[in-house]
């Protein structure tokens, strides 16, 4: 079971100055799953997605990719680290004198809960704490550039490289990172372009393409890296209505290959059709989650019902 989890988001908070965008979000993305994230604007959907590949660094909390830590370790999520802190030692001693008849385990649980709840860890918590935090990081953390190779990202505004041809857009990362040779990468790119019927645009520059073509090429660019998970950030929101279909069709094709996907979208019909699980977010929290049938036909939360009644 544990092995199946590809992306693990553990209790992340994201603050932009005073704006609290994410407030303790946790979720697991399992292999082969297609998770759609829906919710009103400003609910933190895109930020959650961008936190998964660290385009936004979470203020607190951890993000894991296949058992490797992407963020700095969050001391509050590691009991052994909390136990090594001076604050824990002090509180345990105080607790013992206050409740002499309490067992050690009970005191431990109560103190850790107290520390977590009231955010008691300080910047400096002694040598043992520091070295444990450091070794936790050393044992688990992986370089973000390495991790991002396994996470394809598709943006709302396509973000094709304007100074490169379509072919170069697709082959740049695989060749620069030494994953493929130039001819291999070009062969693969051509194969993918043929699949989406844009092989004749290989030497064109992005400025000459339509929105739908740009987005389909952006998807191909991400696929060329052979990612383990694809992240879609409102892939059709910036498109003319008549071009939405071609992009959604391509995403469905990608879905049919068994690719693990996370999709932030406003296209409810599409989410219902493609997703295996739907998350509903509001005000920086995941309010409700479930299969598309459950969530769209019989939402449990009042807020979900209200939102769906407006958009469906």
């Amino acid at each position: 079971m544990q092995n199946e989890v590809i992306v693990n988001v553990n209790n992340i908070y994201k603050y932009f100055d005073d704006l609290k965008v994410l407030q303790g979000v946790s979720c697991d993305i399992k292999k082969g799953e297609r998770v759609a994230i829906i919710g009103p604007s400003g609910s933190g959907k895109s930020t959650l997605l961008r936190c998964m590949n660290l385009l936004e660094e979470p203020t607190y909390g951890e993000v894991w990719l296949e058992g490797k830590l992407l963020t700095a370790p969050d001391p509050y999520l590691h009991f052994d680290v909390i136990r090594a802190s001076e604050t824990y030692g002090r509180l345990m001693a105080a607790r013992k004198s206050e409740h002499p008849d309490e067992s050690a385990e009970e005191a431990d649980i109560a103190v850790i809960a107290d520390i977590k709840k009231n955010d008691l860890l300080k910047k400096h918590e002694g040598k043992a704490y520091r070295s444990l935090l450091r070794s936790t990081e050393k044992n688990n953390r992986t370089g973000i550039n390495l991790a991002r190779r396994d996470m394809g990202m598709v943006f709302q505004h396509f973000n094709l490289f304007n100074n490169l041809t379509v072919m170069k857009n697709i082959t740049l990362a695989p060749t620069e990172l030494g994953i493929m040779s130039k001819s291999e990468a070009e062969e693969k790119a051509m194969e993918l372009l043929e699949k989406i019927g844009l092989a004749d645009k290989a030497d064109a520059y992005p400025s000459t393409l339509s929105g739908g073509q740009k987005q389909r090429i952006a998807i191909v660019r991400a696929l060329a890296m052979n990612p383990k998970v694809m992240l879609f950030d409102e892939p059709t929101s910036a498109l003319d209505p008549e071009m939405v279909g071609e992009v959604l069709d391509l995403i469905k094709q990608v879905a049919d290959t068994g690719m693990t996907m996370v999709i932030v979208t406003h296209e409810m019909g599409f989410a219902r059709e493609v997703a295996t699980r739907v998350l509903f977010m509001d005000k920086g929290n995941i309010l409700e989650e479930g299969s598309p049938e459950e969530l769209f036909s019989a939402p449990k939360q009042e807020r979900t019902k209200e939102f769906l009644s407006k958009v469906l």
Binding site: N53, L55, N145, L146, A147, R148, R149, M151, G152, M153, F155, H157, N159, L160, F161, N162, N163, L164, T165, L172, A173, E176, L177, D200, K201, D203, A204, Y205, S207, T208, A218, R221, A222, M225
Partner: protein, 249 residues
């Protein structure tokens, strides 16, 4: 008809007196040489300083040293842009050069005005260049960087392969504008006794007793330099935008 003919004959004789007689043209050439050396050196130095300062300004600020360098770069740009270039030249020449001389460092002679001029104009231009380049880089949509990073490319690789080429394209006109301004600005070098193109006017006028002709000759020489530079700019711009025009071969 007669009047027009006389006017042109007078013009030619004045030109002859101010340019060809007494080998005056070699004087102009000497001034031109110094102006070109100063301008070229300053452009180069300004560009190098500008690139370094820009790199400092836009690089990620995770390390303390990078934040410190960023502060220093900001102060540099503010001070240089906030004071007249003539004053900077005076300070460099009369204060810095003299004090360096008295400490007999580097073995700079009093007469080494050209070196000071290159340094001053280069440092001055560097501040403007830094802002121009930063503007060019900021004009590139941040989504380009995000796309590069999301594919696993490092910040540096994304910057060099994606952001810089696009930034260069939008910054080239302003960079050349700065070069042109700089070339003309070097005309104040005469204030500290450097024999540059503008300074030649004084010699020629006193010797030929002609007031206006040397001025026009010098103006024409500056104009020719700037026009030449404009051609270089055009060639570079054409080269950079070639990609966009011949799409879909």
């Amino acid at each position: 008809m007669e009047a027009v003919f006389n006017f042109f004959r007078k013009l030619w004789s004045d030109f002859y007196d101010c340019f060809i007689a007494h080998d005056f043209y070699s004087l102009y050439l000497r001034g031109l040489r110094n102006t070109v050396i100063i301008a070229f050196g300053a452009c180069l130095l300004g560009l190098i300083i500008g690139i370094i300062v820009t790199c400092v300004r836009i690089a990620p600020k995770k390390l303390f040293i990078m934040r410190l360098l960023d502060k220093i770069a900001k102060i540099y740009v503010t001070v240089i842009r906030g004071t007249p270039v003539v004053l900077q030249l005076f300070i460099c020449y009369f204060v810095l050069l003299k004090s360096i001389n008295s400490a007999s460092l580097f073995g700079i002679k009093d007469t080494d005005g050209i070196f000071v001029a290159i340094l001053t104009f280069g440092i001055n231009s560097g501040a403007y260049m830094a802002e121009i380049l930063r503007g060019g880089i900021n004009s590139v949509d941040y989504g380009q960087t995000e796309a590069g990073r999301s594919l696993g490319l490092s910040w540096t690789k994304t910057f060099i392969k994606i952001v810089l080429p696009q930034a260069m394209k939008s910054a080239i006109p302003t960079v050349f504008n700065e070069f042109i301004t700089l070339i003309k600005e070097t005309s104040v070098a005469g204030y500290v006794g450097i024999i540059d193109l503008t300074k030649i006017q004084k010699y020629v006028t006193t010797q030929s007793m002609k007031m206006y002709m040397p001025l026009f000759i010098i103006a024409a020489i500056y104009l020719i330099i700037v026009l030449g530079l404009g051609q270089v700019q055009k060639a570079i711009e054409n080269n950079l935008s070639r990609g966009e025009r011949n799409h879909a071969k």
